[in-house]
Symmetry: C2
Subunit: 194 residues, 2 copies
């Protein structure tokens, strides 16, 4: 196994182990064993467990930026852009594939300073992008003094969506489309109205 | 140090260490050292690290039920009850005191089966309570076919609030009162309107 494909496989396997057992409780030996690698072969690809975590997070942010941010940028109407953003972000959190993304969202305390800063800067960029988009939607509806400021609105939306992995089960009553429709409704009109 | 006070101190210290370093990376020796206890003295109070985690979570749920659920039960109007619930839950997440609560919310994967089930049942009870309350508020406003069903609405609200510890800084621009007002607005009328 060589090249970028095997590196991605290592990242996926390591991310799964980090989720199941926690980052600290997972050793390089555990990761190697799960891949049927020797420890030496694993060290050939990655210098340390920290490097693996950092790469997982970077890869997770790549996926997020590509499938959410880049995917909506060309939509001219701000409200349609925001609606697409919500749907794509939910889709990413609910998809079984590339679950590494959830590690990105929940393990950032463990990262060493330098690489932690780089990931946090990318997350912050997304909050700025989202808050700016919300502000455009408020303006496009002629709302000059919104009850909710764009930044806390962005955090509320991120909380709603990122928390889903805690309770959502694909085999339950709610399809992804149901969730997208209802969460979009919460954000645009609140949870009470018809 | 004996009696319930010292047990609570142990739980608080252990909870802080679990948050800072992760549950797996924290040893009984670490907890004992942080308290200036011998390991033997710590084992006098708690049989294992798992027992400590379980007690933290139980204590966290006690606090939550006492300060949120019990505190609002006597409010007759459902909408006022829900608004009080949101304010008290936010207050609990933002208060520096009794931060153990956040461990309850975010570490449940680590609990062994039996005690994990007991905690999860209490969390589930709260979701049922909240969904029922939301449904009463929808009914009290005469909304017969709400755009958002009570259960996903409850999860959206929990996500918004429980996610706050990820970004909220007491020294930032937003006071607790600002957050309560704006998050309540998101939930009742959405994030766009004035």
């Amino acid at each position: 196994m060589k090249g970028p494909e095997s590196r991605r496989d290592i990242l996926r396997t390591a991310a799964r182990l980090f989720q199941e057992r926690g980052y600290d409780a997972t050793s390089m030996q555990d990761i190697a064993s799960a891949l049927n690698f020797s420890k030496a072969a694993l060290y050939h690809h990655f210098e340390s467990k920290e490097e693996i975590l950092q790469q997982i997070m970077g890869y997770g942010m790549d996926i997020f930026e590509e499938r959410v941010v880049e995917a909506v940028k060309a939509i001219p109407d701000p409200e349609q852009r925001l609606r697409a953003c919500i749907a794509l972000h939910i889709g990413l959190v609910l998809s079984g594939h590339d679950r590494e993304i959830t590690v990105v969202l929940h393990e950032n305390r463990t990262l060493p300073h330098e690489s932690g800063r780089a990931i946090n800067a990318r997350k912050k960029n997304y909050v700025v992008f989202l808050a700016d988009l919300i502000s455009q939607v408020q303006a496009s509806r002629g709302v000059r003094t919104p009850a909710v400021h764009p930044q806390p609105a962005a955090f509320a939306l991120l909380g709603m969506i990122n928390w889903m992995y805690q309770w959502y089960r694909a085999e339950g009553n709610l399809s992804e489309a149901d969730i997208v429709r209802q969460y979009t409704a919460v954000f645009f009109q609140g949870a009470i109205s018809k």
